[in-house]
Symmetry: C2
Subunit: 174 residues, 2 copies
DNA sequence: CTCGCTGTTTGCGGATTTCGCAGAACTGGT
DNA sequence: ACCAGTTCTGCGAAATCCGCAAACAGCGAG
């Protein structure tokens, strides 16, 4: 019925060893899990059986691997939107310079619900943070009252979003 | 069986008028669609019936709305991961200054597969673009050979990612 | 080499969910 | 009041999801 798939699977399977972890504690993914993620990046609701056919695994096996990937926090299956469409009128990327413990500031930003995205960077900013707000007042409040008030924040520079041009989640689908 | 749900629905339903469009061509979302999106932001695979129970609609109605939201491009249901986990070792945010047609440059960036995110901004950069690459060589190539080569790009500044601290998709879930 | 341990895969039923469709209900315009 | 367009509902049929027990593979200890 699906003999050629099985054949290709056992070929793939050879080097897909047991899941291990590297130093960071980030789970090491084999080729099959990667292929599963790729399938779900194209369509987060794709049936397990269809994914199984694509990657050469049974429906139940795919289901278990997906569940594990979710439990481990390797991936999440979610709806993503353009915030502007959903009623958040003001967004900005904020570049931040820190004196002292950068990670502590990053953690503080992480705790703010208006902050969608926090990344520590090399370059003329120590941290980049994306802010999503309802309106100008809200944005102003977050940047001036809350972020600049954090002890250790030396300076900030804001880039207010005018238009979102691209937003994809297709890593590995090249 | 679910009488109280029906009751609460008709209350909600009153102000959920026909879908319209604002000037931008972006569909206007009513409270119910927003609630549906919110449900799917928590779990992209949540069954239609469960969503229906939460927002006060029948399973079929939810299904139709979700399909329309997907068709309209208002949202997409996808798996998202930390690129580092999936084998992309180098990422960077690139700030770009443009002379002339900013949107043309933004479109050119959008066409590059390594570019995950493009946004036009106000401030000292005209465009911010997020780049996801396999390694340093790849990143260098994209920034120097491809982005800087675009006619109209006056200057760029790169912020290489050191550590991703937060990445959420929970707009409206506050 | 064999035993046993562990983690993964497979193959099933049964329960749930998805899907397509036809009719009812609601809205806005004439 | 009526009509056209859209949305919602309620089904039955098909597909999918889920849990479980058995088969299987890797691996270290004896």
């Amino acid at each position: 019925m699906h003999s050629e798939v099985v054949a290709s699977r056992s070929a793939e399977q050879r080097d897909s060893s047991r899941e291990s972890r590297n130093g960071n504690g980030t789970p090491q993914l084999d080729a099959v899990s990667l292929a599963i993620i790729q399938q779900l990046q194209e369509d987060g609701r794709r049936p397990y059986a269809a994914i199984g056919k694509a990657v050469g695994l049974s429906e139940a096996a795919v289901r278990q691997r997906v569940q594990k990937l979710l439990d481990q926090g390797v991936m999440q299956i979610v709806a993503v939107t353009d915030p502007l469409t959903v009623g958040f009128r003001r967004q900005a990327m904020v570049g931040i310079n820190v004196e002292g413990d950068v990670e502590a500031i990053a953690d503080a930003l992480t705790d703010m619900s208006e902050v969608e995205y926090v990344v520590m960077t090399a370059g003329s900013f120590d941290i980049l943070a994306e802010i999503v707000c309802e309106d100008d007042d809200h944005l102003l409040d977050v940047i001036n009252k809350r972020i600049r008030a954090l002890p250790g924040v030396r300076s900030t520079e804001s880039f207010v979003y005018l238009k979102l041009k691209k937003q994809t989640y297709m890593w590995g689908t090249r």
